[in-house]
């Protein structure tokens, strides 16, 4: 049927195949966008910082931006599958056309993919810029993070040399982590806050975050660091400023007594 229409030099968008593809595209795109976004964002869980919230929204935006492309490919693939199929050991007769090219399709495809690429780049750069500025915050608490096989140690240099294996942070105050390692490479990952930075022996790297939710979250090592890499994890407690001060003075007293 579609063949007749094409051979009559009908407008290309009036061909039955094109109509079928268009309908499928319109139907499939929101399904892909919705399912892929929901599944991914639900798996991530609730963010515990602004950084993590922006990671989540980035992934949502990218998924929605990609779903028309995925939807179009799926629609085209389905249309071709719904066309003439042949089973058997001998080849079917040749197709009834010899289309070798379509400058219009190629040009559209290139322009759209370039625009999408630029969009992803710019969106990413905006967030990146915001994240990197937070390291320069002068009011931030500084914490030295030291990875070693297979524990994390946290030093609070502004608080009489308090040291802890469990990270305590006050809510809603910027923190800058100065990260290093004693032996091999580790990677300091505060899961629900969306920050990660490698701990390299002999160098200090930095990352920053402002926790915005009271609760208990996870610190994990994200770089294979030997035998007990899987167990190199601990908790991070985000508490109110008052609780944080109490914890600090308590720790300082303990250290003094020891």
């Amino acid at each position: 049927m579609s063949d007749v229409q094409v051979s009559n030099k009908a407008k290309w968008w009036k061909s039955a195949d094109v109509k079928k593809t268009a309908i499928l595209w319109v139907v499939i795109t929101p399904i892909i966008g919705y399912v892929a976004t929901e599944v991914q964002l639900r798996s991530i869980g609730a963010p515990a910082s602004e950084v993590m919230a922006s990671v989540k929204s980035l992934m949502g935006i990218f998924t929605w931006a990609a779903s028309p492309v995925a939807g179009l490919v799926a629609a085209l693939a389905l249309t071709s599958l719904m066309g003439k199929r042949h089973y058997g050991d001998n080849p079917p007769p040749d197709a009834d056309h010899e289309i070798r090219n379509s400058p219009r399709a190629a040009a559209t495809w290139l322009v759209v993919s370039t625009l999408l690429c630029l969009f992803a780049l710019i969106t990413g750069l905006v967030v990146l810029q915001k994240d990197s500025e937070s390291i320069l915050d002068a009011k931030a608490i500084n914490i030295n993070v030291t990875g070693q096989q297979w524990v994390w140690n946290f030093d609070y240099p502004e608080s009489k040399g308090v040291r802890s294996e469990v990270l305590y942070l006050p809510v809603d105050r910027p923190v800058v982590f100065h990260i290093t390692s004693k032996d091999v490479k580790h990677s300091f990952w505060v899961v629900q806050m969306g920050i990660k930075m490698d701990a390299n022996p002999g160098y200090v790297t930095e990352t920053a975050v402002t926790p915005n939710k009271i609760g208990v979250f996870d610190v994990r090592c994200a770089e294979l660091c030997g035998l007990l890499h899987a167990y190199m994890q601990n908790k991070v407690h985000v508490v109110s400023q008052a609780d944080y001060d109490a914890w600090l003075s308590n720790r300082a007293a303990l250290e003094g007594a020891a």
Binding site: D94, A95, E98, Q192, G194, P201
Partner: protein
Amino acid sequence: MTTMMDRSASAPGQAAGKRPLIERLNIVTALVLGTVSAVVVWQLALRFLPETPETSLFFNREDKISLLSLIGWFVGFMTGIGALIGPFRWALGKDLNHDENMFLAGKDQGIKRYFRYTTDHKVVGIQYLVITIIILFVGGTLAMLIRTNLGHAQGGWIQPQTYNAIVGWHGIIMIVATIIMITGPFGNFIMPIMIGARDMAFPRLNALSFWLIVAAVPPVFISFFTGGITTGWSAYNPLASQAGLGMNGYIAFICIFAISTMVAGANITTTVVKMRAKGMTWNRTPIFIYGVVASVALALPAFPVFFLSQIMSGMDRAFATSFYNTAGGGSGWLYENLFWIMGHPEVYVILIPSVAALMEMAPVFTRRPLFSFNLAVMGIAGISGLSVLVWAHHMYISGWAPLLNAPFMLTTELISIPTGMLFLVLIGTLWRGRLWMTMPTASIYALLWNFMIGGITGIYLSDVPADAFLHGSMYVTAHFHYTLMGAGLTGALASLVFWFPKMTGRMFNKTLSWVSFWLVQIGFNVTFIGMFLVGLAGQPRRVESYAEVFSRGNLITTMGAYTIMAGMLVLLHGVISSWRSGVKAPMNPWQAKTLEWTVPNPVPLENFETLPVVTSDAYGYGKAKS
């Protein structure tokens, strides 16, 4: 003793009546000589290498001994297989005579030629096919051990040390298997016939590249029993310099494999550039050829760097140099750079030939011309060009150069444009085709599906802020399995079914190919979608146990993995049974138009009686409207 024999016999004018040396060497002499030489070197080193003084800062005598023994193995094996006969003759100012060359080409030797230093590209192709299957089998078994161990939370039944060794072993041998899985079997067997050549440009280098891989495999197997590769396949320093003697096996393996890849790359590139049939201009050259050349040409800059990085790693271990040791003035970041300068082109070394193979099959199974050959070539060229400029996206969060994150994000995201071209070519070829439903046809759809997921997740990972969350998590593992396995392996399995008739003279069992296709594809998607989810929830990769919250996702993944295993076993059964007793294949079972289908089964020693002349491209399917 053996060396003496080698010298006397390879000299010209062998005693009449005695079988010349060249006819006696095969895999058995290679294994024996390799083992003997390794043991001899090991004993000599044990006796004569000075003990490390107790006051020394470094205890690396064992590393020196094991590296020396591995070099001994390598030299012994290559001598034993006969790789040195040609060079030895040249040193004497002579070369092989015609009979000897015909012997090397495997003339009239039946099955024995597969176990010798045979130069015929068809023999090398079959050898590559078999070794790829063996490596995939071992790597798959290791994957099943990993997934079984991760079937339930809180540590499985494998010790952490063994678990890490299994992860490293699985990683490196699967990388090797996927690098060779298209360019090895099909690049060697099919490619020269496809371009209308009688053999490769350098037949002896062809044999060399294959036997180097055989020489490389035992060190990595042995390393498992001497401490294992406990660092993952990336073998980051300083973790690698801390690891046990097994790391020396890794170093030897990579160095030998890198030489093999460089040799194969030079050979295949030269063959395609110089030996195409008369009339096969660049725009009449099949797209599969472009894929193979792009793959091996990318390996040419990548693998020397890999080689170098491992030589330096070995020197850090054996001589206490400090290329990667911060305390001695080196840097782990140097290793990371060298590794990923190889590592990122390398993923396209795997992917491109696979996509190109499916692009080659698409017109055959849709009975219409390839859609936009030019875009396909531009896509392949664009990916290859950009792929050498993206390596540091593996190091966004390493702290090495934060200011370079934005430029590397740009180059990485640009790759989506040429990749999109490849999608358009495939989808355009499916458009209004007359579908011949075979397992390769279905594989095109599977590739579109898997590569779409792999590609889009790659965009999240290319984004620096999102990567700061995702890096090092199971999400990354799922992502690269989607590209390398979901796209790469899918194309390789389709190639196997597609070219099986030409390579073995028999059709691949249709039912088995379909059963395995569905099991593998469904199992694959279950496995790695489950893995995406636990990654997003925060499970790091390469862990031997995990928090309770990840239990469900891991269980799903493990069940999917068992489905893949079932599918791959069906496929293996299909290969063996079809090869032994499949239906005899006609010369051109798919009615395809490339040159490899114009030669009879089995393919004669010199492929073509008279060399073909090409007058059009191979995609002239479809009927013009009148």
